[in-house]
């Protein structure tokens, strides 16, 4: 039932689209029919082109995201556990936070070229703040009353961190990871549109130059689909890591804010 409800709007859109194409309401060259797009998707898939570009993009996202985690998590822990350091970083980080990663692409290309390095840099820029800020918030907002429990029962500072503060901040860390993954996926596609020789964004921009709107549409749909799949998989993983939160606390589909 839930699935049927979810499919209603796509079905209506598809029907309109098909009708518009069938009755010649739109220029069939600019707006290919759904059937045409499906055929293109099948062909791209069979030749391994779609999968190839997809694998490139996904590989970049996961590598970049992993690197980001290695930088953002320790820094957030450092600041969260040493609040007196926060004033040194606060203004700078909030300044940087307002710069969309995509605005840095020209500089990154100048400095790093159009190879993998500039793509990784874009992903790091996009994923860093959601990861860092949410981890920091999770640590800083850890319930002081729970920390007191550790204090009374003779926990060492290390045990207090590992057994109380860290698990208490985990839901926030996971939320940051989820937002960060979404942001880096968007930012990467942006970077691939501007300068790349592979990846789903490149596939789209190349199709534009070859005047193949059907391929462009396949690319756009693939981006949405894979973004959805990544997020869904992460949500399921989160529910497993955070069994005490229940589904509702991590499933904030409409509250996670987009960027870029």
């Amino acid at each position: 039932m839930k699935i049927l409800k979810a499919l209603l709007i796509p079905a209506v859109v598809l029907a309109w689209w098909q009708a518009a194409a069938a009755f010649g309401l739109a220029n069939s060259y600019l707006v290919p029919s759904p059937a045409g797009v499906a055929a293109t998707a099948a062909a791209l898939w069979q030749k391994g082109i779609l999968a190839g570009h997809m694998a490139t993009s996904l590989g970049r996202v996961f590598a970049g995201f992993g690197l980001t985690f290695l930088a953002a998590f320790p820094l957030a822990v450092l600041l969260g556990m040493n609040r007196r350091l926060i004033p040194y970083f606060d203004a700078t980080l909030h300044f940087l936070r307002h710069i969309p990663p995509i605005a840095c692409i020209p500089l990154l290309i100048l400095w790093l070229g159009i190879g993998e390095a500039s793509k990784l840099a874009i992903i790091i820029l996009a994923a860093f703040f959601p990861l860092f800020l949410n981890t920091l918030a999770g640590i800083a907002q850890c319930d002081a009353r729970l920390i007191e429990v550790g204090q009374v029962f003779g926990f060492t500072p290390r045990q207090r961190f590992l057994r109380i503060i860290l698990p208490a901040s985990l839901p926030s860390v996971v939320l940051g990871m989820r937002l960060g993954l979404g942001y880096s996926w968007r930012a990467l596609i942006g970077a691939e549109l501007i300068a790349a020789s592979a990846g789903i964004g490149y596939m789209i921009i190349e199709a534009e130059q070859l005047s193949r709107p059907d391929v462009v549409i396949v690319g756009i749909l693939a981006i949405g689909l894979f973004g959805y799949i990544i997020d869904y998989a992460f949500l399921k993983l989160a529910a497993r890591i955070l069994p005490w939160t229940g589904e509702n606390e991590t499933d904030d589909s409409f509250s996670s804010k987009g960027a870029l």
Partner: protein, 245 residues
């Protein structure tokens, strides 16, 4: 032997525009292996007293001395304060870090059964009722092999039957393990059923003390009890100027 000695304990909180003396000179010696209950009106400083003894708050003046000096202290807070990410069983085991796993499992299981939580080992705190969570918090303090247990209204959220049950269990544990227990309660009968001494607090001081010379288990219905209760009520309600320590 004195397990805990408080001398001239004073604690003031600064609020905007004024100061509150939460403790205004508390002197107290608690014998090792004794059960002392503390009653007093809301806001008289009971929680503050326990928090200072437990090392969570620093006194403004005065001394807290333990014998032996490094005494292990457990605390049952006024709220359960369970770790939401741990199951009930894990919450109790959390304070038994330095013991062998099978020992931990056995001790935790024993206390959970005693507290009527045997069937909820794998439940998360969010799945417990308020009274169940409070019992789990009590179990956590009992699992920690403490010399002194501080209890801040630990049975406050329980129904009369469970409460009566746990009072008996607590007395049994006290008699068996010979712990030193400081027990804060709002309930005068509870204070008399549990305490060997009942301290009355008002305005940050201990204003009266009643010795309860009856053997355990006690029955709150007897004649001698009525007299003690009447005395306690009088010292709780009399104006400050007429109180003696």
């Amino acid at each position: 032997m004195t397990a805990l000695a408080l001398k001239g304990l004073y604690k003031e909180y600064r609020l905007p525009g004024r100061q509150v003396a939460a403790l205004a000179g508390v002197d107290l010696a608690v014998a090792a292996g004794s059960l002392v209950t503390i009653v007093g009106r809301s806001g008289c400083g009971k929680t503050t007293l326990l928090r200072i003894i437990g090392g969570l708050e620093k006194q403004s003046a005065g001394e807290v001395a333990f014998d032996p000096p490094g005494a292990r202290i457990a605390m049952v807070f006024q709220e359960p304060r369970l770790m939401p990410w741990l199951t009930v069983e894990q919450n109790l085991a959390l304070v038994m870090r330095d013991q062998p796993p099978d020992e931990i499992k056995r001790t935790v299981g024993r206390y959970l059964d005693m507290l009527g939580l045997g069937g909820f080992k794998a439940a998360y705190p969010s799945q417990l009722s308020g009274g169940m969570a409070q019992r789990a918090a009590l179990g956590r303090a009992l699992c920690y092999n403490a010399d002194i247990i501080l209890m801040d209204e630990p049975l406050g959220a329980l129904d009369a039957f469970t409460r009566r049950n746990l009072q008996e269990e607590l007395v049994a544990i006290f008699l068996k393990h010979n712990k030193t227990i400081l027990f804060v309660t709002h309930d005068i009968d509870e204070a008399l059923i549990l305490g060997q001494r009942v301290l009355v607090m008002a305005d940050g001081r201990i204003t009266a003390e009643v010795a309860v010379p009856f053997p355990y288990p006690r029955d709150a219905a007897g004649e001698p009890f009525y007299k003690l209760r009447a005395g306690l009520l009088a010292s709780l309600t009399s104006p400050p100027a007429q109180r003696g320590v």
